[in-house]
């Protein structure tokens, strides 16, 4: 019959399939739960911005989330404050939910067996799933930054921005720095996504994978706060999560930022290797 000619188009192995990735993105972003997570994240700069606007309380530097004392002086700082507020918990929660669901959710629903018998190679399933997770993490970070910038500009004065280092840069440069911060946060979340994907490949219970991923993110930060464990700190995946503050200095001290990016690259490599070795050998019995 008919299929012999079409089979020739097939190239086994890992070539990224744009069509399947688009389908995966529609799945992730079309899901009501994930949309709610994004809305909750977008509400953070709104809450912080409105709270600062309506309150007359003086905030001392060092109180509250980083940069919050500067927002009333320059609205663009709302983006930095909001990102600093969501990085420790809300963003890892959102990414943990979506990443933990990635493989385990399809396994539990049984859709995994139909995807694999299409066939989609298991490596390709992981590549596409991970690609969608990275996009989701980036979308979440940039959403918070964009709402922060927009609302900050609407509620507070803007203009040239005085950085932490005392130097003043243009508004455009400040917006550029906010976007760089979002990009740095996206890379941090790409690391957590890889870990969540690996966890997800080990179970058919998505809730367990989500909870494990979020617990790992929190545990990593707790360990990072214990001075007696300082030998361990450089290896914790959350260690440089807040290093993006350096992007608000001039000139930008790149040392810690580069350390952070390298740390994420290492975690991504290890976690994806674990996910791959597990997922490509396991029996799909769900």
């Amino acid at each position: 019959m008919s299929s012999a000619d079409t089979v020739l188009l097939d190239r086994p192995g890992v070539s990224l399939s744009a069509r399947l990735l688009r389908s995966e993105l529609r799945l992730v972003f079309g899901r009501r739960r994930n949309q709610v997570l994004l809305v909750v994240l977008a509400l953070v700069p709104v809450l912080v911005g409105v709270a600062i606007r309506v309150s007359s309380a003086e905030v001392e530097p060092g109180e509250g989330p980083p940069f919050i004392d500067r927002v009333s002086g320059n609205g663009l700082f709302l983006a930095f404050t909001a990102l600093a507020a969501v990085v420790p918990f809300l963003l890892p929660l959102a990414v943990g939910v979506v990443a933990g669901d990635a493989v385990a959710g399809e396994a539990q629903a049984g859709t995994l067996r139909y995807l694999l018998t299409v066939p989609v190679s298991r490596t390709r399933v992981l590549v596409v799933k991970y690609g969608a997770l990275v996009v989701f993490g980036a979308a979440a970070s940039f959403l918070v930054a964009a709402v922060g910038l927009g609302l900050g500009a609407a509620l507070f004065p803007t203009g040239d921005v005085t950085l932490l280092s005392g130097t003043t840069v243009s508004e455009t440069s400040a917006i550029g720095r906010a976007l760089l911060v979002a990009a740095y946060v996206s890379v941090s979340l790409a690391g957590l996504s890889a870990i969540g994907l690996a966890v997800s490949a080990f179970t058919e219970v998505p809730v367990a994978a989500m909870a494990t991923t979020v617990v790992l993110a929190i545990t990593s930060q707790i360990l990072d706060a214990v001075p007696q464990l300082d030998w361990l700190h450089p290896y914790l995946f959350s260690h440089h999560w807040l290093a993006f503050g350096d992007l608000v200095r001039d000139p930008v001290p790149t040392g810690t930022l580069v350390d952070g990016l390298q740390l994420q690259a290492a975690w991504i490599a290890v976690a994806l290797a674990v996910a791959w070795s597990r997922f490509t050998t396991k029996d799909v019995t769900s």
Partner: protein
């Protein structure tokens, strides 16, 4: 109970048969030691509609999962359409339409959106024809009207139909359908039978599993009966019917002599049971006493003779064991 092993044909797969599915010594031992499939030699000849029968827990679904590369065999080989699985999965599975252990789709997507996703996953199809192929598949299973509804609102029968539509998304050479009539009302069951007949008429091979003989008896030309991970019988439905029809059973140590007498009397089919002590012949119009006389005349030692009659269903139960006989 211990079922007699009624061997209609040698289970060792004759290598010359052009097989759409062939397994050799296929075995799956799960962690914990449970043997789900035990040295199974399964042959589904090309162009046949083969029923894969057995009670729940007899290893049918695990076998099907191994055929499709979802479960890695502990030992043994699988060939689909002449190519080894899972090594050649990428090239052979697009030619195989499958329903595995019930339909499973994303609950919050519509039926159509689910098909779009599966089609997007297939790198071997032309995306420009995607929408037309999806429409054809939906029409073929009668689901076009409900295609826009979320999968979670579907009845079990509609879910089953969507599963069949997914198998029909593109032309296939082989269909592996695990319990396709499960959850369907009599009307739906009839429609599935019609569909299977159409697929067979198109030249496709169909392997269709069921725990109910009656569900698939009418569409199959061959059956394989599973019990506790092994194939206890395989053959054409006629061969199986011979075992079930009222037939003369002669207990004798001289099998060949008895067979030739029975054939002379007009038996269209006569076989020896696997235990080598009995022959069975299809002689509806000859009285048992006449058969006895003919055997004695031919000096065939007769230890016992009688008629046996069983329905196919009774035979099936005899082969697979009574219910609640879970082998764990």
């Amino acid at each position: 109970m211990t079922a007699p092993v009624l061997q209609v044909e040698a289970p060792r797969s004759a290598p010359d048969v052009d097989a759409a599915v062939r397994t050799t010594g296929l075995t799956k031992r799960f962690r914990g030691g449970q043997v789900a499939v035990d040295a199974l030699d399964l042959v589904v000849p090309r162009g046949s509609v083969t029923g894969f029968l057995g009670p729940n827990g007899s290893g049918k679904t695990t076998t099907i999962r191994m055929l499709l590369g979802l479960v890695v065999p502990t030992s043994g080989q699988v060939e689909l359409l002449g190519e080894p699985v899972p090594r050649a999965s990428a090239s052979v599975l697009p030619r195989v339409g499958a329903l595995v252990e019930g339909p499973a789709f994303h609950p919050y997507l519509s039926g159509r959106a689910n098909l779009v996703r599966l089609d997007a996953a297939d790198r071997t199809v032309d995306r420009r024809t995607s929408s037309a192929r999806i429409d054809t598949a939906l029409d073929r299973v009668g689901l076009q009207a409900a295609a826009g509804k979320r999968f979670r609102t579907y009845s079990l029968g509609m879910k089953q139909r969507l599963g069949l539509a997914a198998a029909l998304l593109r032309p296939r050479d082989l269909f592996i359908l695990d319990e396709p009539t499960n959850g369907l009302d009599p009307q739906g069951t009839r429609e599935v039978r019609t569909l299977v007949r159409e697929l067979a008429a198109d030249g496709c091979t169909v392997l269709v599993s069921s725990h109910l003989l009656g569900e698939i008896e009418q569409v199959c030309d061959r059956v394989v009966v599973m019990r506790a991970g092994r194939a206890v019988t395989s053959g054409t439905l006629e061969e199986l019917a011979l075992l079930a029809r009222p037939s003369v059973v002669v207990e004798t140590p001289a099998l060949d002599a008895a067979l030739s007498v029975l054939r002379r009397l007009g038996a269209t089919a006569a076989t020896a049971d696997a235990d080598g002590l009995r022959v069975r012949a299809d002689l509806p119009d000859v009285a048992v006493e006449d058969v006895t006389r003919a055997l004695v005349h031919a000096d065939v030692p007769v230890r016992g003779i009688g008629r046996s009659g069983r329905s196919l269903e009774e035979l099936f139960v005899e082969l697979t064991g009574e219910g609640f006989d879970v082998v764990g």
